[in-house]
Every structure is written in C-alpha cells, then in structure tokens.
Subunit: 160 residues, 2 copies
C-alpha cells in the first residue's frame, strides 16, 4: 500500500493525470492501415487507442504493428497493407483503468505500459494516463516530502 502522506502529495496534480479523450488521437478498428500509418506517423505517439463506432475502447495500435505487416519475403512491400484494417493488427486485451484515483494500480501498470487508457463502466474511452504526467507528479513528490515532513525512522538503528 502507498503511504497516506505520500499518496496525498502525489495526488496534488491529480486533475492533470488524465489527458481527456478529445485531446487524444484515436483510430477506428475499421480504418484502412494506410490511414492508420498516416495518423501514427504525424501524431507523435508510437501507439494510440482503437475505438469502435460507439467510442468503446477495443485495442491499441502502434507503428510497429503496421510496419511488421509490410514485411514480405523479399523485403518491405507497402502493397501488403491494402485490404487490411486496424482490426487486423491491433493489440487487444490491453490493461485499462477506470479512475485516476487508483494510484496503486496505475503506478504498477505504467512499469510495462507507456500509457493507460481510461474507460468508464461501459468501456467508453475517456482518455489516457501517461508516464509523462505521472513522472511530473513524481518530481513534485520527491522534492516536496522532506520540505514538508521530518522523517523519523520507525525502528531504532542498532549498530551505529
């Protein structure tokens, strides 16, 4: 469990944890891969969320997912992408969170994921929590703790 004072400081920027859905580039699972390649190469993110037509999150797709599909037996072939859609290459069953309050889970999941999609109970995509935003809070934390508190060891040091 995260200590309560520590959690308090980490959460002082909680309102900025989530990049809202409106500010996140996404793709529909029905989009052709040519379109996906265009979006991904211009958007500045290596991986973005994939939605269905009801705004439900159904996966993530990366530039690497698409470029791999261009790899033919004798080299890359852009033609291999025709007739394929995002649904053919996306990663599914990706970890998500429902609230920015679940800091314990968020910090653990971000060890392996560069961002976490936030969804509601109906799996509607609400935004993302990025390592970038969490690292801003971590910077705040490590600078603030000992400005605000004196840290008293809980166990007496025996050999000193």
């Amino acid at each position: 469990m995260i200590g309560k004072h520590i959690e308090e400081i980490l959460k002082e920027n909680e309102e900025t944890f989530i990049v809202p859905a409106d500010n996140v580039a996404t793709l529909l699972y029905t989009h052709p891969l040519e379109h996906a390649l265009l979006i991904l190469s211009t958007v500045g993110y290596a991986k973005i969320p994939v939605l269905d037509t009801d705004d439900r999150l159904i996966g993530l797709v990366s530039l690497a997912n698409i470029v791999e599909k261009m790899m033919g037996l004798t080299g890359f072939d852009y033609g291999l992408l025709s007739n394929l859609t995002v649904a053919d290459v996306m990663e599914v069953n990706v970890p998500t969170v429902q609230h920015s309050e679940d800091l314990e889970d968020i910090l653990h999941l971000l060890v392996d994921a560069s961002f976490l999609p936030v969804v509601d109970e109906q799996q509607i995509f609400r935004g993302i929590i990025t390592r970038k935003e969490i690292l801003k809070s971590v910077n705040h934390l490590v600078h603030e703790v000992e400005k605000r508190y004196t840290l008293e060891p809980k166990v007496a040091i025996k050999n000193k």
Copy 2:
C-alpha cells in the same frame, strides 16, 4: 533538491537503472533506412540510439522519423527510402546523462523523453535509462517511505 532519505530509497535499485549498451538495439548513421525500418519494427522500441563507427552517440531514430519520409504527394511510397540513410532522418542534440547518480536531472529529463542515453566523457554510448526502470524504483519508493519512517509535519497545522 530531492530529500536525502527519499533519494536513498530511490537509489536502492540504482544498479538496474542503466540498461547496458550490449542489451540495447542501435543503428549506425550510415545504415540504409530499409535496414533501420527492419530493426525498428522487430525490436519492440519505437526509438533507438544512433552511433558512429567509434560507438559514439550521435542521435536517435524512430519509426515515425522513417515512415514520414515515405509520405509522398499521392500517398506512401516505400521507394522514397532508397538512397537515404539513418543520418538523413535522425534527431540530433538529444539530452544525455553521464551517471545514474544524477537522479535530479534524470527524473526531470524523463518527463519529456521516454529514455535517456548514457554516454561517457568521450560521448561513447554506455546504455540507456528508461522510464520503465525508474518507475520500478518509484513503486518501491512510494511503498517503502511510510513503512520505514514516521512523517512529522515541519510546520504546525494552524486551522485543524
């Protein structure tokens, strides 16, 4: 400044902060972009270091840097990559660090960079420090602080 007890706990995993150069996929600036595309799409990282023939770090290259170059006036054209090398698309003047001890700098720089190349005085590439490894230490930190220490507020709370 990072508090001294906080820094102590964060650094307990310091030996794992740096992924050593031998375990990091890299490219030479002279490599053709077709080769770079192959490496980047198979390696699992969206961006990797670019070295010269003396192992000096000279830049970073991402899948997006290369895919952008394939964008022609009428759509993507793989042929646009021929005769281009990594040097033609890499990002230069990227932030680097020299030691895993510079935690203050590392934590700040990782807000905007997904990893930091580590170089020595001669700019020889020694490895990378990733957000992933730092987030492992952050998890350790937020769970340990209040197990080990009682946090006493430094200023009396006036209005209770």
